[in-house]
Amino acid sequence: MKQRHERGLAGVLRTVIGRSKLLTAAIVMAVVGAVVTALLPPLVLERAVNLLTAGNNIPFALALLYVALTFLTGLLDATRESLLIVFGQKITHGLRSALCSKLSRLPSDAFVKQDPGAAVSRFVGDVDTVEALFTSGIISMVADGGKVISILAILFVKNRGLALVLLVLTPLLFLFTRQVQKRMLAAQLANRVAVERATNHVPETIRCIRTIHALHKEQYMCKAYERHIQDSYDAVEKANFYDAVYSPVILIASALTVAAVMLLSAAGIPAVQSFFGMSVGTAAAVIVYIGSVFAPLESVGMEIQTIQSAVAGVRRIDEFLAADERWETDASITLDSLLREDVPCVELRDVTFGYDEGAPVLRDLSFVVRDGEQATLTGRTGAGKSTVFKLLLGQYNPAHGQVLIYGREASQLPDTVKRRLFGYVEQSFRLVPGTVLDQITLFDESISRAAAERAAVTVGLHEAISALEQGYDTPCGPSLFSQGQWQLLSIARAIAAEPKLLLLDEMTANLDADTEQTVLTALKNAAEHRTVLSISHRLYQQTGGRQISI
């Protein structure tokens, strides 16, 4: 459980490393091995050139050694790459798991305030940027950075002058890199915001397609989309500039270094010459070394955009993971401990509540609904009827007063008791990916097939479902049922777990009179051991429903 509270990429990294110690160790070994073996071929080359300069042939064994070392480096590189891919996927998996579990800990308010597209782009797009670090071999490049350090170490022994030149250059290069990075990050962040807006625009268009056609607003929607992709285009264009300018600058610096070392060696000043310790063989090796010092920098530069988007992505992921969480519920509450005869099923005591501070929707509301009672909340639209339901379902805390379910604070009830306590019929049916059966059970394994079918019988939908080719196992799509039948399914979903309290949110509004009758009959049958609280239930007062005006 401790890991749950570690936040962000760092936490995920630690978890993954902790879980796959063997893999991590293997990666470290492959990285170190590749660094060490990469150092050896230039040493062989130096020896070969010196032999040639002295007028000797290169022995076949030495040539073979060079090839063997190169091959070994290649093998180690390949191993490292493969291991990093595995590791990288573990990290992205871990990040998505962390995001998903964070979703369960967000307050309900966040679901309302946040665009689903925005959250999806975090789950998908932002994590992708981290994944790209591994697939594009950037982590390997960073590992290659290790080579730079070891090369500098060798140079310090073999050629102190060059080592010093490089040491002077390093901070300059570092500063330059930082500057490029910073500006690119700004551009990348702007791009991600624009991409998020564009991403959001697509499902919204699909949802509103009929209205768009009906009002001839295709152009309007296209223009809005165009604005988002143009914003993204501009940001990318800016990032491209820094991306393009970085590597050339690094390579020009590399050429300058080579030229400087050569000139100093050729200057004919004995002190300087001995400082640079140049034989011709060393000269050849030195060029290779300078190349290997600048090469990782250069390759990092080639992928600087990928790195920057990853930084931007990680920042946004961390932000999401650091968002305020919902309050802890009281896990000790069980259904059995809750159901006591002596307290009312629902009680509101002087409840004041508003979504925004200073704009209360409910003021000092009090009412009681006893076990087995059937009641209707009345009031004009916007009066806060649905809000009462949200409070009962524990999605919000009242500003003042108490919302009690069997004498316990509604917001303290744990998720585990909810399905058997509340049967909530939402305003509109929320289709989930799966079969008809899944629509009713909502993937709750504790609801048996028989229970789901019973629920369907109760709402009078069993025949219609059985008539389908695959019956309850028919994959569900939006065109499978009519508007009214979806509503029936919504009720079946609510009562599948035999809940104590039925909450009907503007249900009748979406049903015609006939179906309403069917449902009412079913509800009456169930009412003997169930409490019912409904909104705008016109017919309910005739069947014994008490009115509560708010």
């Binding site: 093998l75 998505r96 597209g117 699909i206 080579v258 030229a259």
Partner: protein, 582 residues
């Protein structure tokens, strides 16, 4: 902006390349210069080594080195500037393509009708539209880059090798093709695992969308942890597929390079003999160094060529998936609301593709200013009638408006006649003002008054500029319905289909809205689909639908003729006006 080629054939990659000829010309020029210039590096480095040797031998002096080093830096700088230009323009090219493709995709999407869109899963459309275009543009960029970086550079290096010693060059070039051969053999595996990973990714995307957008429902039902577990399974599936797909792409290049590098064996052996005398050519140390460094660069490039090859394949997979969606975008014409007219429906029947008719024999006429109620039990065919008038399903018989048969009109002209508001208010994640007017310039307040929403909106902190969240979540159901009605009234059409838009309103508000609707739609024929009947006595005609049969008449007539209608009306009337008490 010129868009001719893309507008005509957006499903051809060539169109995009042709569109971008200027950018590509800049890329070509700088690319050829850069890649030719790359040869200068090893050549100069060899010269520098040799020059140093000569200086130590006393054959040359410092000024020679100064000149050489100066030239070296100048040439490298010129080459790198060319590289900067090439890199910038290749990226600009990809950026253009990315934008253009998304534009085409969106243009296509927006002209799809509702039935098409419902058939496809939203998650996969999103992946298609966004990730695939990104992957595709990225692939085209890599392809363009590598044509120069790999193709031209490889040719250059090879030419230089042949120039120095053609026999040794031939010998050295024995091994690099081996890596190509292996890469070609790997193609099938890479493609298969790549497709599998893309598919898994599509599933993951859909699962993500569901987990996020249904989060509230899952919470209320206390099944978040079950959904988390299902999502975790999807993640595991994707992890496996992605590892399988990426491991080939990442692990092979170092091996390809190692295989190519076997040739250095020959270079050391025979090249060494070239220097010491007795080889195929007469070399000095500089040539030896240049030859070796050239060959090393060639092997690095060859290894990357295989990677490029894989990247292009990935892009191809994405392109194949978006290609069918890339149709020419139809040109827009502005809305021109048709003049008021008579609606004449004769012997109408409608059926879902191939099935039995949902209803038949419906005939009625309506004049501008009339409101006609349509009602009946569930599955009576109310929504089918609505869909038939919108021509979303085919109908038999005739629906004429102003003398024109609706099914004969192109869909754009039809929308000039028919206005529609359904049960789903289809609100956008934007401000209240923009939801009503979209891009029209007028004042939204009268429309808000007409739907009794003015006061409520005025009380909101940002007034008409309040953002209402996705689908209008920050408004109550009744507010959403009225906002959508304001939008419909703001874009008047001579024939208005209102498919149960008031169901979330309480009776008093519904009555107020209805009274103003009457006034505002005096030039329109309104069909009001509803199952709440208390307003029906005030309607001009009522259509009762049941079991495929239809009855048309005034409220009074139907009360007399249809027992079910009368029973339903009386039942609801008994329900009274309890909601008006607040």
């Amino acid at each position: 902006m010129k868009q001719t080629d893309i507008a005509r054939r957006p499903d051809r990659v060539a169109s995009y390349f042709r569109m971008e000829w200027a950018t590509l010309l800049a890329v070509t020029l700088s690319g050829v210069f850069y890649n030719t210039g790359l040869l200068a590096g090893p050549w100069f480095e060899g010269r520098l080594t040799q020059c140093l040797l000569d200086i130590f031998g006393g054959e040359k002096d410092f000024p020679d080195m100064l000149r050489l080093a100066g030239a070296y830096v100048a040439v490298i700088a010129a080459v790198q500037i060319a590289r900067y230009i090439k890199r910038l323009y290749v990226r600009r090219f990809a950026n253009h393509i990315n934008r253009d493709m998304k534009r085409v995709l969106y243009g296509n999407l927006i002209h799809r009708n509702r039935a098409d869109l419902e058939g496809e899963n939203i998650g996969s459309i999103m992946t298609k539209a966004i990730s695939d275009v990104d992957a595709c543009a990225e692939g085209m960029r890599k392809f363009t880059t590598e044509v120069f970086d790999t193709g031209v550079a490889l040719a250059g290096y090879a030419a230089l090798l042949f120039w120095y010693d053609w026999r040794l060059a031939l010998l050295s070039l024995l091994f690099p093709p081996c890596s190509y051969f292996i890469a070609e053999k790997m193609k099938a595996v890479v493609q298969r695992s790549g497709t599998a990973a893309q598919e898994s990714r599509g599933r993951l995307s859909a699962a993500t969308l569901d987990r996020v957008s249904s989060a509230s429902t899952y919470r209320v039902f206390g099944c978040e942890s079950q959904r988390d577990r299902a999502y975790e399974k999807q993640l595991e599936d994707y992890e496996k597929a992605a590892v399988r797909a990426n491991i080939w792409v990442a692990a092979m290049p170092p091996l390809y390079q190692a295989i190519s590098m076997i040739s250095t064996l020959f270079i050391f052996y025979f090249g060494g003999r070239n220097v010491t005398g007795g080889g195929w050519a007469n070399w000095d140390i500089a040539v030896f160094a240049t030859f070796l460094s050239c060959f090393t660069k060639l092997s690095v490039k060859s290894a990357k060529a295989a990677k490029l090859f894989n990247a292009v394949q990935k892009a191809e997979i994405s392109w194949k998936r978006i290609k069918p969606l890339m149709r020419p975008v139809p040109m827009e014409t502005a809305a021109e609301p048709a003049p008021a007219g008579k609606l004449e429906v004769e012997n109408l029947s409608a059926a879902y593709s191939g099935g039995t008719p949902i209803f038949r024999g419906l005939s009625f006429k309506a004049e501008p200013g009339q409101i006609i109620g349509v009602t009946g039990p569930v599955a009576c065919g109310k929504s089918t009638l609505g869909k038939a008038i919108l021509c979303e399903i085919p109908y038999e018989g005739s629906i004429r408006f102003g003398g024109k048969e609706l099914s004969d009109l192109p869909s754009e002209r039809r929308w000039d006649i028919v206005g529609y508001l359904g049960h789903d208010p289809e609100l956008m994640s934007d401000t209240i003002r923009n939801n009503i007017l979209l891009d029209d310039e007028r004042s939204p307040e009268p429309l808000l008054e007409a739907v009794c929403l003015g006061r409520e909106i005025a009380e909101m902190p940002d007034g008409i500029h309040t953002r209402i969240g996705t689908g209008g979540v920050r408004l109550s159901g009744g507010q959403q319905a009225r906002l959508a009605l304001a939008r419909t009234l703001g874009h008047p059409r001579p024939l208005l289909i209102l498919d149960d838009p008031f169901s979330a309103l309480d009776q008093r508000t519904e009555r107020e809205v209805f009274e103003r609707l009457r006034i505002l739609t005096q030039d329109s024929v309104v069909l009001l689909f509803s199952h709440r009947l208390y307003l029906f006595p005030e309607l001009d005609q009522v259509i009762w639908m049941e079991d495929g049969q239809t009855l048309v008449g005034t409220h009074k007539e139907l009360m007399r003729v249809s027992g079910q209608y009368a029973a339903l009306y009386d039942l609801q009337k008994g329900g009274g006006d309890h909601e008006a008490e607040a």
